[in-house]
């Protein structure tokens, strides 16, 4: 991958210039769909953008220097690592480099880690509760998530994302995609797995103490996670080979948005599970699906 192409992917597509407006669009879609399914009208489409600007324009509260630094640095790190993960998505074939799957997994794990640290550094009871839940859940969903990605890598005999998305066998890919889809709601903290940020229960979880610009960055990081995770699923589920670039882009965008629709409708139709129930689902059912993918990938001829 040349430097120019890397910068183009990081800053234009599927990075900054594409991801930020689409992150706002996806956050809006989730709120709007929930509202429509509850018989309400819901917010207008520019809502997440105005939320972001308003939060940026609020004056931050005075805090002890080290806490202020940590509370500002953690959301910035979450935004930056999610953008990095987005830039690695193999929307176009023959991009990327050998081993970019490992980097992608690492970058996708950083935002939950930041949320855990943020909850504890904010020294709020609710923040700490949210951070604990986030940590327990990330251990639970990492099992099926990583099992699915390892199975895909084994099936394609490669650690390069573009090779995996083009060459993994479908008998491995179907259970692996199922396991990845199961991990989406918990990684995005929506129902029925909105345990870590459970509103009305522990307020906003790890971000309870965050105000103004710091909260704006968390909201942005959350939106970017939507783009990155649905995008990852889209490139793995619908690999486009040997077509013109507009087709690659169109398939990527449309599948991502369709997946947001499914996740949002599932979220609006379900109620929140308890922490132990959510963790059990991932350890049992999630891992069972991931294991099927792994076994099929390992016994391939």
């Amino acid at each position: 991958m040349t430097l120019g192409r890397a910068l183009l992917q990081l800053l234009v597509f599927p990075g900054l210039l594409y991801a930020v407006p689409v992150a706002w669009l996806m956050l809006w879609m989730e709120r709007k769909l929930t509202a429509r399914l509850q018989g309400r009208i819901g917010p207008p489409f520019y809502q997440p953008f105005f939320d972001f600007v308003k939060l940026l324009a609020k004056r931050p509260l005075p805090r002890p220097p080290l806490q202020a630094l940590a509370m500002s640095a953690l959301p910035v790190l979450a935004v930056a690592s999610t953008l990095g993960a987005l830039a690695l998505l193999p929307v176009f074939p023959r991009g990327g480099f050998g081993g970019d799957l490992v980097l992608l997994v690492a970058l996708l794990e950083i935002p939950p880690l930041c949320a855990v640290l943020a909850g504890f550094v904010s020294q709020s009871l609710y923040g700490e509760l949210g951070a604990t839940r986030e940590a327990v859940l990330s251990i639970a969903y990492s099992l099926p998530f990583l099992a699915a990605l390892v199975a895909l890598a084994a099936a394609a005999d490669s650690l390069s994302l573009s090779v995996i998305s083009q060459q993994a066998m479908w008998q491995v890919r179907v259970p692996a995609l199922l396991a990845l889809a199961l991990c989406l709601p918990v990684k995005l903290r929506v129902n029925p797995f909105s345990v870590a940020n459970a509103e009305q229960e522990i307020y906003a979880g790890a971000t309870t103490e965050f105000e103004g610009p710091r909260l704006a960055l968390w909201e942005l990081a959350h939106g970017l996670e939507w783009v990155a995770l649905t995008g990852l699923w889209a490139v793995l589920a619908f690999p486009v080979a040997g077509a013109a670039w507009p087709l690659h882009v169109a398939v990527f965008v449309l599948i991502s948005l369709a997946l947001v629709l499914v996740v949002a409708v599932a979220a609006a139709a379900t109620a929140r599970l308890k922490l132990a129930q959510a963790a059990r689902i991932y350890w049992q059912w999630g891992f069972a699906v991931g294991l099927v993918a792994l076994v099929v990938a390992m016994v391939k001829p």
Partner: protein, 147 residues
């Protein structure tokens, strides 16, 4: 700079987040307040969100006459909301202590304890009146609010 100012003003008007504080209310106003979020009134279409954390809020909605036990909480909470902020007194209790006036356990009305911007009188006020009061609060917030 002018375009940034007008963008900030617009975004404050389009995205006011509320925090609801019960300072010894009988729960009547609180029920009417939550009604505003239901499908019939649906204030989310105005960008309004009811937040659980005061750190996220722009508008503090206080119900109840401020009792002796809730006074410290009201003061702490007012300091916890980042500027700019607006305070709405919901119902007759925070405005005048209503039927609780003169009680030894009541320290209100609210404007003795924190500055109040908008009063929504009523016992309880109708949801329409609450939405109108919040609209007034939004106008104050867009102009810079209380800093």
């Amino acid at each position: 700079m002018r375009i940034i100012d007008s963008l900030v003003r617009t975004s404050r008007r389009r995205s006011p987040w509320l925090f609801h504080l019960n300072a010894g209310s009988c729960n009547g106003c609180d029920i009417e307040f939550v009604t505003c979020l239901t499908p019939r009134y649906d204030v989310e279409q105005l960008g309004i969100r009811l937040e659980g954390s005061p750190r996220h809020a722009d508008i503090i909605v206080v119900s109840g006459p401020v009792t002796r036990t809730t006074r410290a909480a009201v003061e702490t909470l007012y300091a916890q909301v980042p500027d700019p902020k607006v305070v709405v007194a919901l119902g007759s209790c925070p405005a005048s202590c209503n039927v609780f006036a003169g009680s030894p356990t009541v320290e209100g009305p609210l404007d003795r304890i924190i500055p109040v911007d908008v009063y929504v009188p009523g016992c309880p006020p109708r949801p329409d009146a609450i939405v109108a009061g919040i609209a007034d609060a939004i106008a104050i917030l867009a102009g810079g609010g209380r800093t």
